[in-house]
């Protein structure tokens, strides 16, 4: 914020701030500023909009000078001076933003963050493509409120039991508990809630009133199903078209039973059918119908393409088309369909991803005695999760690293071997992984019966036309749905619209083969966009109004707990019992384990995140999570006071700025807070750590409004009942006077001024809400207004009866 010299005329500030003396002229950041004697540098700078950060200043009270952020350089002074306390002098030369000052402020902010045992926003939530509210649902597991927990989950992630089994959990990678010991088991907690919801049969969310709009969803994979779920919830009528005989896409036909049992898949999809979603299987886009058919004669208002990535990438080696070479997608699908191919004894799986691991482990279960995974890099670079690799190794799958296939050898049109080449790692490529390079002259032959290439998948945008017997693309029309050069569907990444406005797309078909959770995240946002589209909103406006989906900045607060608690483990099916069957391996959390795990969660959320000055300055100073905190160490850990009706207090977030102390003592006179202790352990708290309820607190809330962090925060509450004892009311209207939100008024109806003797208590809230809500009682007998309706009476009518007057009702009756 360089202010530099300005052409502004050197006029006096129009209003005297606190100075009462003669006008003086000083220079701030090379700019001439006029002020009055008695003004502080901070005030003078403020008057010309030069910003100096501060945390502890309260306007009108004596300067405190504790935060040291408002320090500025004054010519002639040995060291920086606090601008909140230093008064202006004639000819003073002030610098507010030198390198040195910025560095000092950064250090002090970093020190504050190093003992700020709280966090603003949950990194896990923003690490997940679906942005599911992880701290909330984990907190609810700890509370034992599983129903609410699954409701919170399904707001953003409709299939917790499924995703909780197959997700590579990017959320856990950014979990702050990792800094203490290990991250929270977020994935298994999802699964736990999903399983409980299925087991206990929690009531699914009810869809909104029907809108009458019809949507066609093409593909019943994770993307299509998630899209359907959110569209159906909004009240749209959805029909799913699926080429394969059943729903699930890769969930059913790609992921083996031992990772995701079909019964879980079926159970989790139940709410969809309960909402009246129609399913048409055996209908493939292209051969059976086209987009024109859907939007034309079939009468759909919009269509969603969730066709996934079902085409395998070729190895591009000689002999690839021999019998016995079977792509991983075909292989896993055939197994799921119940017609597993004969793999023989020796199986080679090429690749290091999830499907490679699946193919290897399935082959083993099908009876292959020797299954080897060939990967051209090392174990460290494998895209598959390390636990998957570990499991595969335990089950007897062999791994051959730094090896790539060169040629498939065959006999009589059938595979009998593969020539491999040794590789070595060279320079890192664009993805940051070191590119493997062949070692010349290192070829050797491996004897094999089956080769399963699993080196990547892409969307299948072509089909074999039955009539013409030639390959056709599924989007034949010009100017409609377009493809990128990676053979994926091109979309607007905010509205999820393809080139055809009524057609939306998400999932693997758009991104290329990615994770289930990424597909669900995209499909959910596509559903929101489609809902807007179907309601007839302007999509350009929708796009503009869409909140930035980017990750919010995460500041560098180290995580700390004094006790280390190990991550909970789930029981696994023993390796010998896995042989030859597809029983689920991971048994999931018990209720007790899920409870223990959920209580490890640091709950990285803060109510004050939007108003927090500490956060704002820290972001400004560039104190980001990735860079870490130089002063990370032991932190103070305090309990929270949530007993007070209005003000909730979390000393963990306190930065000892003493604003609450000063405003409480010297403005309201209550003196609730003060510093306690000495040294680094100094903390602001009421005496004897009393709850605020036991102090002289008058609930004025000024401390909470002044708190620069979320340490003091106003609680929100809602009215349940407003009882008035009419026999006691003396119609003084004092209550009307004190009401800060003008919620109270006096009825102009004099009849109500007479206490009724039938029922002395009346609930004003029910009365206000109108006769329908009000049970028969004295108070509602007659509260019609005077005949000559003045404005107040009209207002009363509007408030009490929602616009309908008693008189009108009577007229209607007659």
């Amino acid at each position: 914020m360089s202010n530099g010299t300005s052409d502004r005329p050197n006029t006096l500030p129009p209003v005297r701030i606190s100075g009462t003396g003669a006008p003086v002229k000083l220079s701030i950041n090379g700019r001439e500023v006029m002020a009055y004697e008695g003004d502080t540098i901070l005030e003078a700078a403020k008057s010309v909009k030069i910003k100096i950060p501060y945390l502890c200043v309260i306007k009108g009270l004596e300067p405190f000078g504790g935060c040291r952020l408002c320090i500025v350089e004054v010519e002639g002074e040995e060291r920086p001076v606090p601008s909140c306390a230093t008064q202006v002098r004639e000819g003073m030369v002030v610098i507010t933003d030198s390198e040195e000052l910025l560095r000092l402020r950064k250090t002090y902010l970093e020190l504050l963050l190093s003992d700020h045992n709280a966090y603003c926003l949950p990194p896990c939530k923003y690490g997940c493509p679906t942005n599911v509210d992880i701290p909330a649902f984990i907190g609810l597991i700890a509370d034992g409120d599983y129903d609410e927990s699954q409701r919170v989950l399904k707001e953003n992630l409709p299939f917790p039991a499924i995703v909780g089994r197959v997700c590579p959990h990017p959320c856990e990678g950014v979990c702050r508990r990792d800094e203490v010991e290990e991250p929270i088991s977020i994935r298994l907690s999802h699964r736990f809630v999903g399983d409980v919801a299925i087991e206990k049969g929690f009531k699914p969310e009810q869809p909104a009133a029907a809108t009458g709009k019809r949507v066609a969803v093409v593909g019943a994979g994770p993307a299509g199903l998630a899209n359907t779920y959110y569209l159906a919830l909004k009240g749209h009528s959805v029909t799913i078209f699926e080429a394969l005989p059943d729903t699930g896409g890769m969930l059913r036909y790609g992921i083996p039973e031992y990772r995701l049992p079909k019964r879980v898949l079926n159970a989790e999809l139940e709410p969809l059918w309960a909402m009246g979603v129609e399913l048409k299987t055996g209908m493939a886009l292209g051969p059976d119908f086209s987009l024109d058919d859907l939007l034309g004669e079939m009468g759909f208002d919009a269509a969603f393409l969730g066709i996934g990535a079902h085409a395998s990438r070729a190895m591009r080696v000689e002999g690839e088309d021999l019998q016995g070479v079977i792509t991983v997608v075909d292989f896993l699908r055939d197994v799921a369909l119940g017609s597993p191919p004969d793999v023989g004894d020796k199986v080679a799986v090429i690749g290091g991803g999830f499907s490679a691991m699946d193919a290897a482990r399935v082959s083993k279960r099908l009876g292959a005695s020797e299954v080897t995974v060939f990967y051209r890099r090392t174990q460290k670079e494998m895209p598959a999760h390390e636990l998957e690799v570990k499991d595969a190794m335990e089950e007897g799958v062999r791994f051959s690293f730094l090896v790539a296939p060169v040629r498939v050898e065959g006999k009589d049109g059938r595979v009998d071997g593969m020539i491999c080449q040794k590789m070595e790692l060279g320079e890192p490529d664009a993805s940051g992984r070191r590119r493997p390079q062949p070692v010349p002259g290192s070829e050797n032959l491996v004897e094999l019966d089956t080769i399963i290439p699993a080196i990547g998948q892409m969307p299948k945008l072509t089909y074999i036309d039955v009539k013409k017997e030639e390959e056709c693309t599924i989007f034949p029309e010009e100017g409609g749905v377009a493809c990128t050069r990676w053979q994926t569907i091109e979309i607007n990444h905010k509205t999820y619209q393809t080139g055809r406005p009524q057609v939306f797309a998400a999932g693997d078909a758009v991104s290329g083969a990615l994770t289930v959770v990424a597909a669900i995240g995209g499909a959910k946002k596509a559903a929101w966009a489609m809902d807007a589209f179907l309601r007839g909103e302007d999509m350009a406006a929708y796009e503009a109004a869409l909140p930035e989906l980017e990750k919010p900045p995460m500041i560098s607060i180290p995580a700390y707990r004094d006790k280390k608690e190990a991550r909970q483990m789930t029981p696994q099916l023993p390796v010998p019992e896995r042989e030859g069957n597809f029983l689920e391996i991971d048994r999931g959390f018990s209720e007790a384990a899920a409870g223990v795990e959920s209580r490890r969660c640091l709950q990285c959320i803060c109510e004050g995140v939007e108003s927090c000055k500490l956060r704002r300055y820290s972001i400004g100073a560039g104190l980001m999570k990735e860079e870490g905190n130089r002063f990370a160490g032991v932190q103070h850990l305090y309990g929270r006071d949530t007993t007070h009706d209005f003000i909730q207090r979390d000393p963990n977030r306190c930065i000892d700025c003493a604003r609450c102390i000063r405003v409480c003592k010297y403005v309201t006179g209550s003196g609730v807070y003060d510093f306690t202790g000495r040294g680094a352990g100094t903390i602001v708290t009421p005496p004897f750590d009393r709850s605020l309820n036991e102090t002289d607190c008058v609930s004025c809330g000024r401390c909470a409004t002044l708190c620069p962090t979320g340490a003091l925060f106003m609680k929100e509450r809602q009215l349940v009942n407003w009882h008035l004892d009419t026999s006691r009311c003396i119609f003084c209207a004092d209550c009307v006077e004190v009401c800060p939100v003008e919620s109270l008024a006096i009825t102009p109806a004099f009849e109500l001024a007479t206490p009724s003797h039938e029922d002395l208590h009346c609930n004003l809230l029910d009365m206000a809400r109108g006769p329908d809500l009000n049970p028969a009682g004295a108070c509602q007998k007659d509260h019609a207004p005077r005949e000559n309706e003045d404005h107040a009476a009209k207002q009363y009518q509007k408030d009490v009866h929602g616009g309908e007057t008693a008189l009108k009702r009577e007229q209607d009756k007659q």
């Binding site: 250090t107 020190l111 504050l112 701290p135 306690t676 000495r678 352990g681 004099f750 005077r786």
Partner: protein
Amino acid sequence: MLGLLKGLEITAAHLFRKKVTVQYPEERRRLPERSRGLIRLRLKDDAATPRCIACTFCEQVCPSVAIKIIYDEKRADKVWRFDAGAGPMLSFLNRGEKPVGIAPWPQDAAEAPSRGCIASSLIDAGELTEQLLEGLALKNGAWVSQVFSIATYYDQLGPGAPRPGEAPPAPAERATMEDCPQILLTNHGGVDPKSIDAYAGAGGYSAATKIITETPPSGVVEEIAQSGLRGRSGSGFPTGRKWQVAAETLARQKYIICNAEEGDPGSFKDRILLEENPHSVIEGMIVAGYAIGASQGYIYISKDNRLAVERLRGAIDQAEDRDLLGTELPGGFAFSLEVVEVPKTFMGGEETAIIATLEGKRPMPSVRPPYPAEKGLRGMPTVVENVETLAAVPWIIKNGARAFNQIGAPNAPGTKLFTLQGAVGKPGVYEAFMSTSLKKLVAEVGGGFKGEPKAALVGSAGGGFLSPGLFDIPLDYDSLREAGGDLSSGTITVLGADECVVDVARQCLAFFTRQSCGKCVPCRLGTWRLLDIVDRICRDPGAGDLELARTLAEDIQAGALCGLGRASVRPLLTGLKFFKEEFTAHAAEGKCAAGKCGKR
């Protein structure tokens, strides 16, 4: 007949009058403007949600208790959970079991004693209970939170709290260097400190009586200014200039405070002066009070210095008897003295913290300006001077500013008391010229070095190291500051070959970490984190720790609020400057030549 007609007349008259009754409810009466009906609730524009935020103000204000409000906490879309992993609120209350001790003070709040300020009222307490603190608050017109804050500041709360004890014994050796006039240690060995007669017999109180009768206050200020006397507490601020500001500021009341806290570990000079020559300090205060126009003085002292307190009180009583102190003194001058005892702390010795303490606030330094000389105790001009400074004042008055100005260094005239300890032959308190070098001091009065000295820490925990190469620089404010150190209280610890500079620097830092008042960020959190880093360097060094320690220390020095905060990193910074190899050996190789550090 007539009666009948009269009756009919009334009927006829009323027949044409306006009717009183109305056909309610079809017909309504018009109500007077200020009529009031029943209370009603207004709704928001959606005609469904109440405007009411359930603040219960109406419930509280209702004079006839007719209102009762029932509310619920709002559970919006977000579900917050609060107490995940929360620990006990504050550690100091968990030191042990709940106190069961019997309070030494009456439990009745009204009878809780008051000793002028809260801090000094605390010192008699054996076990501070909630009731006692509330009584104290009531008695002192303070908030309970304020009393609690001060009690925890002085570590006076909870069963494990340290009780005021006896101050550690002072070294016995006293001497004045050759050629050096005895200005401060005049009474040593000779005159009885308990007797005012002995002091007066040796020419005492002549300065005070002389100026009150002969010199105007401005002349006294001028005399002190010309003498070049500088504050002996460490800052070295010219005393004359401070007095001048206070004297020229118009106020109905001014104060003079003698800072006898002497928080520097290992410093004994103030205590020795008060124990052996209390009258010289009192005389100095009378002169100062006369010069600036103060009628009230305070001597702020740690309760632990029992002998000093006792002697001071005795001396004040005697001086009052002789009409040297009191509200009505001959010559129209009034000056009273009060001894304020407080629990021992380090930060309590900072001048603005002393003022806060005397005002009944938590001893935290405040931002300057305004300086205390303009606006100090209770908003009045206040001069805070060190014991040693005040003790030198009578000599200056008696012998003249010129005589004082001619001894010692040109920009730091006079003599200074040095507390010498560590690897020297005769540890003790010595008076010497300010221009004396350490080498000379140790050789002439200190009994020589014990073995080859490795370093000297000048100025206690807030001072700086000197390498043996610098042992011959003059021990005055400016030369030491140039070397990165500080004269501070004049405490000199000589480190022998078996001492580790890193370890000593760490101990100094640990002292500050415990003593920080908690007000400003660099001192409260900075020293704590710096201690962590230096601890690491001693124990288990990581890459970059040394550089990090240096940057953090420099940043603390640049931004700390008070002088004591800035002093906290001085041993470390001077250590890094003069003993870089030793620090590098620790940080890079994990080696401690003295064998003091290592994996603990």
